[in-house]
C-alpha cells in the first residue's frame, strides 16, 4: 500500500463526486447538515417544545395562578378571557379567583391535568428558592437508580470490597461506609439474577445522601439527571422508573447520519463495478488496497467529522465544556462497521436495486446492533455490547473502564476488518464485473483466500469477530425476551449460537469445495473439519473478553458465551469438551460440504442439532 496514491485516489473520489453535484444539491445538503447538527443537540437536551402553547388559559395578572401559567410554556395566557370564551372553545381553562373552570371537552380535561402538575412544579420551584431549605423540605429522599450489574465499576466499589456509593455525604445518620453492611459483598458479580435489586437496598448510604452523593445521584421526578438538568424536588408521587429517553435519542443522533452516508458510499463502490468502470484503475500501478482505502477514506473522514461535531456539541450541552473524545473514539468502530458492511454489500450486489436491498438490511441490522443495547445504558451490562453505550455514558458524566471500552469497541472493529478483508478479496477483475448471484459472491469471498487446509482454520479464526458480534446482537435483541422468560431467552440464544457457529465453521469449507480447492474425499473432509474446529476453539477464546466486564451475568449472555470461567480440576474438561464439540461438528459439516449443496445443508443441520444438545447439556449442568 502506498499512502501517496491512496490519498490521491481519496482526493479524486472527492473531486469526482463534487463534479457530479450541482450547486443546488450542494446547497440543500449543506442546509440539511446544518439543520441536523443544530436540531439534534436540542432534541437530545429535552425536546424542541412541540407542546408549547397548546393549552389556552384565561387568567388575570393579579391571580396567584398567573405565575404558574407563565412558567409553563405549555400554556398560552389569553388576556381578558371570560366565560363565553370557555364555552366557545377559545380557551380550555379559566381562572376565576381561586376557582379553575374547565372547558367541557377532552382537551379541557387534559389542560386541567397539566395545570395541576404545573402548579405542583411551580410550588416546588418556589420552595427551592427559599433561603431556609430545611424548612422548605423537612424530609429529603434521594432516589438512586442502580444498574443490575455495573461492569464499568462506576458504583464506586473499592478494592477492599467496601462501597462508597450513595450516601457518602458523611452526615452519619445513615449507613456506614466501612463495609460493615455489605463490605466484601459481590453484588452483581455473583451471577444472581437478583443482583439488580440489592444495590439500592442494602447499601448504607442509600438513604442519607445529602448533596454530594454518588455519581449516579438521584432525582425525583426526573428520569435522567443529565445534560445540565438540576435535581428537581417533589413529592414521592413524582418518582418514576427511568425511561431511557436521552439514551435513545443520543444513540439515534449518532446512528442516523451513518445511514445516509452508506447510501453514497455504496453507490460509489457499486458504480466502479457497473459498466466495468473500475477496470482501468485495476490495470494501473496501484494495489487494490490503495483503491479501496482511497475510495473509503473520504467517507470515513466525513462520517467522523459529522459524528465529531455531534459528540462535541452534545458534550458541551451535557457537561458545559469541551470534550467528547471518548465518544468519538467509541463511534469509530460503528462508522467502520457501517462502511465495511456496505463495502462488502456493494461487492455482492449486481445492480443498484440489489444494493438498495443490501443497504436497507445493513441499516436495520447495524442500527439494531448499535441502537438497541445503547438504550439500555441505565439498565444493565448488556448495553456495553454497543459502543454507543460508551458515548451515552460519557455524556452522562459516568466513568468508563478500559475493559468496558475494549469490550465495546474491539468486536465491531475486528468485524469491520473482516468485512473489508472479504470485500477486498472480491475487488479483482474476475469478481468485480461478474454477474453471479449473491450467494455465489458470498462463496467467492470466502473461497478466495483458501488454497490449503490450514487456510480453513485461519479463516475460521478470522470469522470469530463476526460470530461474536452476531451473538452479541442476538443477546441484545433477546434481552427484552429475558424480561419475560429467562428460560425461553436462553433456549433461543442457544439456538442462535449453534446456527451461527456451525455455519461459521463450515461455510468456507463448502465455498472452497465449490471452487475445487480440495479433493472431495472423506480423508480431506476430516482434515478440514479438524482444522476448522481447532481454529474455532482458538478464536472462541476471544469471548473471554466478555467475562472481563461480567457480561455473563446477563443470563442469555452466559448461555451464549459458553458459560463462566471454569476453575479447578474441571478446567481441563471445560477446555477439552468444547474443542471436541467444535472438531466433531465441523467434521460433520465438512463431510456434507464435499458433496452437493443439499448434502451440505443436511450435514450442517445435524451439526447444529449436536451443538444445541451440547449447549443445553452444559447450561443445565451449570444451572
Amino acid at each position: 500500500m502506498k499512502p501517496r496514491k491512496l490519498l490521491r485516489i481519496a482526493r479524486w473520489e472527492v473531486q469526482k463526486n463534487a463534479g457530479g453535484l450541482d450547486r443546488r444539491t450542494v446547497a440543500i445538503t449543506v442546509v440539511m447538515i446544518v439543520l441536523f447538527a443544530a436540531v439534534s443537540p436540542l432534541i437530545a437536551a429535552g425536546g424542541v417544545g412541540l407542546e408549547d402553547g397548546i393549552y389556552r388559559v384565561g387568567v388575570d395578572e393579579d391571580s396567584q395562578y398567573y405565575g404558574v401559567a407563565q412558567s409553563d410554556p405549555t400554556f398560552e395566557i389569553v388576556a381578558g378571557a371570560d366565560e363565553r370564551d370557555l364555552r366557545t372553545g377559545d380557551i380550555e381553562l379559566l381562572v376565576d379567583g381561586r376557582t379553575i373552570r374547565v372547558a367541557d371537552s377532552r382537551k379541557g380535561s387534559a389542560a386541567y391535568s397539566e395545570f395541576r402538575e404545573s402548579v405542583q412544579r411551580y410550588n416546588n420551584q418556589q420552595l427551592a428558592g427559599e433561603a431556609n431549605q430545611t424548612a422548605a423540605f423537612p424530609v429529603e429522599v434521594t432516589v438512586e437508580f442502580r444498574e443490575q450489574s455495573d461492569p464499568g465499576g462506576t458504583d464506586g466499589q473499592t478494592d477492599d470490597g467496601t462501597t462508597t456509593d450513595g450516601g457518602n455525604g458523611g452526615d452519619g445518620s445513615g449507613g456506614t461506609d466501612d463495609g460493615s453492611t455489605d463490605g466484601g459483598a459481590t453484588d452483581g458479580s455473583d451471577g444472581d439474577t437478583d443482583g439488580g435489586t440489592d444495590g439500592g437496598e442494602t447499601d448504607g448510604g442509600s438513604t442519607d445522601g445529602s448533596g454530594d452523593g454518588g455519581t449516579a445521584g438521584g432525582s425525583v421526578g426526573s428520569a435522567a439527571p443529565t445534560l445540565g438538568q438540576d435535581q428537581i424536588s417533589g413529592s414521592p408521587a413524582d418518582i418514576s422508573p427511568p425511561f431511557p429517553f436521552q439514551s435513545l435519542v443520543l444513540a439515534f443522533v449518532f446512528v442516523i447520519p451513518l445511514n445516509f452516508l452508506i447510501q453514497a458510499y455504496g453507490s460509489t463502490m457499486l458504480s466502479e463495478r457497473l459498466n466495468r468502470r473500475g477496470e482501468l484503475m485495476l490495470v494501473s500501478p496501484v494495489s487494490r488496497l490503495d483503491i479501496i482505502g482511497g475510495k473509503t477514506l473520504p467517507y470515513f473522514l466525513g462520517a467522523m467529522a459529522v459524528e465529531g461535531v455531534i459528540a462535541v456539541s452534545l458534550f458541551y450541552i451535557a457537561q458545559g465544556g469541551l470534550g467528547g473524545a471518548i465518544s468519538l473514539f467509541a463511534v469509530m468502530p460503528i462508522v467502520l462497521l457501517f462502511l465495511s458492511a456496505t463495502f462488502l454489500g456493494a461487492m455482492f450486489a449486481r445492480s443498484f436495486k440489489e444494493l438498495t436491498f443490501i443497504t436497507v438490511t445493513i441499516t436495520v441490522v447495524l442500527t439494531s446492533y448499535a441502537f438497541v443495547p445503547a438504550i439500555f445504558t441505565e439498565s444493565g451490562a448488556v448495553a456495553l455490547i454497543s459502543p454507543l453505550t460508551l458515548v451515552v455514558r460519557e455524556l452522562q458524566g459516568e466513568a468508563l473502564t478500559l475493559s468496558a471500552v475494549v469490550f465495546s469497541t474491539l468486536p465491531p472493529l475486528l468485524t469491520a476488518g473482516l468485512f473489508f478483508g472479504l470485500g477486498s478479496g472480491l475487488y479483482r477483475e474476475e469478481d468485480l464485473f461478474d454477474q453471479r448471484s449473491l450467494p455465489g459472491k458470498v462463496l467467492d469471498a470466502l473461497a478466495v483466500p483458501i488454497s490449503r487446509p490450514r487456510h480453513v482454520g485461519i479463516m475460521t479464526i478470522v470469522l470469530i469477530p463476526f460470530v461474536f458480534v452476531s451473538q452479541l446482537l442476538a443477546i441484545a435483541l433477546l434481552f427484552a425476551v429475558q424480561q419475560v422468560s429467562v428460560q425461553l431467552a436462553t433456549v433461543l440464544i442457544l439456538v442462535v449460537v449453534a446456527v451461527v457457529e456451525e455455519f461459521a465453521k463450515s461455510l468456507h469449507i463448502y465455498a472452497a469445495h465449490t471452487h475445487n480447492r480440495f479433493e472431495r474425499t472423506m480423508r480431506m473432509a476430516v482434515i478440514l473439519g479438524i482444522a476448522s474446529g481447532v481454529g474455532f476453539f482458538v478464536g472462541e477464546k476471544i469471548a473471554l473478553l466478555a467475562q472481563l466486564v461480567g457480561l455473563q451475568e446477563v443470563a442469555t449472555a452466559e448461555a451464549g458465551l459458553s458459560g463462566g470461567i471454569a476453575q479447578g480440576p474441571i478446567l481441563l474438561l471445560f477446555l477439552l469438551a468444547p474443542l471436541m464439540l467444535h472438531v466433531v461438528t465441523a467434521t460433520i459439516s465438512a463431510v456434507g460440504a464435499k458433496g452437493s449443496r443439499r448434502s451440505y445443508l443436511a450435514a450442517v443441520t445435524v451439526a447444529i442439532v449436536v451443538h444445541l444438545a451440547y449447549n443445553l447439556t452444559v447450561v443445565s449442568a451449570v444451572a
Partner: protein
C-alpha cells in the same frame, strides 16, 4: 517484449484459454483474432495483469505480469472503456498520470500533445457529454499517459463510425511506427491485416493458427489464377473481348496454355489472387479445433 507460456484460464469447469504460448518482439504489431468466445480478451487481460492465470506464466517488458512494476510499462485499452463521466478529459488524464507516477509538468505536456494528436476538442467538457468517438480518444490518450513500451488494445475501434475507426487505426499505425510494441485484437480483420505483422487465430480457447500473413495464406488460404486467353476454352467466360478461366494450380495453368495453343489462340494474361485474412480465418474456423496447428514450427 512479450512472452506467454502455456497460459491457461479456467472459470470453474470452463476453460476460457487453454495453453496459449506465443511471443511478441519489440516494435512488432501482433494481432489476436478469433470468433466471439475464442479467448482473445481473456488472453489480453492475463497479459495486462488483470486476470491471474490458472496455469502458465507471462512476461511483459521483462516483468512478470503479476508485478506492479510491469504496469508502468504497459498501456491497456479494454474493449469497453467506460470513463468517469463526471470528470473532464484533462482531470481524468491528470488523475491517471498521478497513478502512473508521471511528473506533473511532463504529464501536462503529454496530455496536451496526445489530445492534439488525437484531434480532441472540448477538453474541459465533462466526459459524460462527449460522443462515443471522443470518449474512445480519451481512453486511448489514457493508455499513452505513461508513454509505455507495450500497448494492449482490445478492439480499439469497436462500435465506432467508419471515420473515427479509420482515424484510430491510422493513429495506431503511427504508434507502431514510433516503435511501440502492440498487441491488437479486432473483429474487423481488414484492420488487423492492414497493421499487424503477425497474428494468432484463436478458437474455443486455443491458438489454432499463427504466423505472418503470407504464411497463413499459404497454409490456410488459396491462391487462384485468372488466365485470360484469346479463344474460348472449357469453363471460360467472355470478358471485355477476351476469355477468362479460373484455376487453382500452376499445372492447370499449363494445361490451359496448351489448350489455347491447340485451339489457335494464346494466353494473353495471368493474374494471381490470394485469400484475404478473413477467408483464412473462415477456413481455420471451419477446420475446427483439432489442435494447435503451428505455421512457424518450433517458434515459442
Amino acid at each position: 517484449m512479450i512472452e506467454a507460456r502455456d497460459l491457461r484460464k479456467e472459470y470453474g469447469g470452463f476453460v476460457a484459454v487453454d495453453g496459449s504460448t506465443f511471443s511478441v518482439d519489440g516494435g512488432e504489431v501482433f494481432g489476436v483474432i478469433g470468433p466471439n468466445g475464442a479467448g482473445k480478451t481473456t488472453t489480453l487481460k492475463m497479459l495486462a495483469g488483470l486476470l491471474d492465470p490458472t496455469d502458465g506464466s507471462a512476461e511483459v517488458a521483462g516483468y512478470d505480469v503479476s508485478e506492479t512494476e510491469m504496469r508502468h510499462h504497459l498501456g491497456f485499452l479494454p474493449e469497453e472503456s467506460p470513463l468517469y463521466e463526471e470528470m473532464t478529459p484533462i482531470s481524468y488524464l491528470s488523475f491517471f498520470a498521478d497513478l502512473y507516477d508521471v511528473d506533473s509538468d511532463v504529464a501536462e505536456q503529454r496530455i496536451h500533445d496526445t489530445l492534439d494528436d488525437l484531434d480532441l476538442e472540448h477538453r474541459h467538457r465533462q466526459l459524460g457529454d462527449m460522443s462515443k468517438g471522443m470518449k474512445r480518444k480519451v481512453a486511448i490518450a489514457r493508455s499513452l499517459i505513461n508513454d509505455p513500451e507495450v500497448l494492449i488494445y482490445d478492439e480499439p475501434a469497436s462500435g465506432l463510425d467508419p471515420l473515427t475507426t479509420n482515424y484510430i487505426i491510422e493513429f495506431t499505425e503511427r504508434l507502431a511506427e514510433e516503435g511501440k510494441t502492440i498487441i491488437f485484437s479486432a473483429h474487423n480483420l481488414f484492420h488487423v491485416e492492414s497493421i499487424c505483422d503477425r497474428v494468432v487465430i484463436m478458437n474455443e480457447g486455443k491458438i489454432v493458427a499463427r504466423g505472418d500473413l503470407d504464411q497463413l495464406r499459404q497454409e490456410y488460404g488459396e491462391t487462384t489464377y485468372h488466365v485470360y486467353t484469346t479463344v474460348e476454352l472449357d469453363d471460360s467466360i467472355r470478358e471485355n473481348g477476351r476469355y477468362r478461366a479460373v484455376v487453382e494450380s500452376m499445372d492447370a495453368v499449363d494445361s490451359l496454355r496448351s489448350a489455347a495453343t491447340e485451339a489457335g489462340g494464346e494466353v494473353i494474361d495471368i493474374r494471381t489472387e490470394e485469400s484475404s485474412l478473413e477467408e483464412v480465418f473462415l477456413n481455420v474456423a471451419e477446420a475446427g479445433t483439432t489442435g494447435d496447428r503451428y505455421v512457424e514450427e518450433g517458434r515459442q
